[in-house]
Amino acid sequence: MNIPVVLIFLFVFLPLSGGGLLFAFPERGRKLLPFLFLVNSIISGYMIFTGFEDVLLFSGSFGVEIVFDPSGLILTLMNGIVFLSVSLSMADRSFPPLTMALISILHGTANAVFISNDLFNIFVCVDLAGILGFLLIRMGRKPRQVWSAVKYLVTANFGMILYLLGCLQVYTHTGSFSINSIGNVPPVAVALLLTGLSVKGGILAMGLWIPEAYGEADAEVSALLSGVITKVGLAPMFRIASVSPLAHGFLSFIGPVAAIWGVLYAMAEKDLKKMLAYSTLSQVGFAISVPALGPFYAASHGIAKAWLFLSAGNMPGRSIEYLQKKGVELSSWLPMVFGALVIAGIPGSALYIAKGLAMSYLEDWRLILLYLASLGTAVYYSKLMLIPPLKKGKLIKGSGLSHLILFVALLAGGARAGSYGIFQVWSSLFLIFSGFSLYLLLRKRSFPVLPYWPEEIDHIMGLTVLFCLLIWGVFAL
């Protein structure tokens, strides 16, 4: 039996064709879909466990290169887990009939991005994921959603045009679209590729479509967007950075800056879902600071953020002040507080390990910036910890299973020997505690609000162009 072919059948072919079938039979397929996600996450987990690695070249020379390695498989594992829990939590609500089909296709597309090592194949899959994300954002058909979706598609497509130009540069210089050949292409190609992808991945000003899109979409869709679609932009970046020293230098330079920048936005935000969206902008910065560890960080963050968005969907309101006054039921309070603690990096969770590993690789000013950003993360997540739980209500409601899956996944990610030295545990606990007390001190004052204008559609695209020129200039020096 040819293992890579079976894997591609399960990861990509089955979700894509199943999505097509779901258009025809929406009701019958709905119940089967979670099983597919379950099988995919179990298989990717097993493959990581056994250390499976393989390369497959589809149809000879100039073919599409598919790579199975731990950094891709961990993202497919995350993909399976997030989709499993989202589809479970969607089971007891009513959605437009085509939603399930779109979700199935998105799962296959995201898997295809995570395992492919070919620039053009990545372009096609990332663009497809963008279209599916667009259709999912506007699902509720509210006018506000339609505008955020259009804004997302215009900026994302603009990014992909830049990416396409980068692909062209790579092809004319190397005669191939394989990422492996990207080591010594001219700087302009790397600059274009990275800028194009960072619109999707949500890095600095290029990702400013994120707050509106995540804030307006339905909670389940936000979970998918933040858990998977952002990672669709990040995964190729990690692959490029592993080959090209230019890209590696760029990502590790921009990462800590993006982390602290997202924190500044999130601290001032008063809306729960938008705060989570800004937090994504900041966490992406953490993930790209050490590109070699990026996939693990991105996967843990995807799961944690999906959890937070799912629990945000069960809240009675969106304003944090209102929630702090009224309190929320225990069944949504528990996942929210746990999720907040996980992202702040509490020992025992996957993000604690990821943060610890990333920081152990850095030393200079980047380490200081990342420490500051972790402190800031603890400060703004303290807003959620001050929401009081209500005694009434059941402990577990309808979608309890999906919360349980995410919780177990985060705990399993945290099981790594050697990361629990006294100093590390205490320093992370100290960071969370000091963030909490800092928030209590500063609570009565208002945080400085960053300007809104960069979030306007023209400015996102303009800043993207500027950014591309800037990287090119720096690389060319």
Partner: protein, 116 residues
């Protein structure tokens, strides 16, 4: 060679025109058209890149030196054309929707209404 350079300059100019329209026009329809112009420019650049390296096609008799275009960029760019077209059509449909809700296609006005 002169023709090639000239064509490349013209196409890069086309991409720049599209970019300028995308950034400067406030009307959403104009933005979408500018985006399509930019996309077309990039696609034509791919076709031009195929011209540069002459390789015999797969079925050709290798004993006769044939000058022909590289098939790979042309083969892959077809996908990009299809994607560009589908995104364009999706955007036009939803921009129609937007105009019904906001009664304008001016991005600044929509954003002002949105932000309130």
């Amino acid at each position: 060679m002169l023709l090639l350079t000239l064509l490349r300059i013209i196409l890069l100019g086309l991409v720049t025109v599209g970019l300028a329209g995308l950034l400067l026009k406030r009307n959403l329809i104009m933005k979408i058209i500018a985006m399509d112009i930019m996309n077309t420019g990039v696609i034509s650049l791919f076709v031009l890149a195929a011209w540069k390296r002459g390789k015999a096609p797969l079925t050709a008799d290798l004993s006769i030196p044939l000058v022909s275009a590289d098939p790979v960029p042309q083969a892959v760019i077809v996908t990009a054309i299809v994607i560009g077209f589908s995104i364009l059509s999706l955007l036009v449909v939803y921009v129609m929707d937007l105009s019904r809700y906001f009664h304008t296609l001016d991005t600044e006005r929509i954003q002002k209404k949105w932000h309130r």
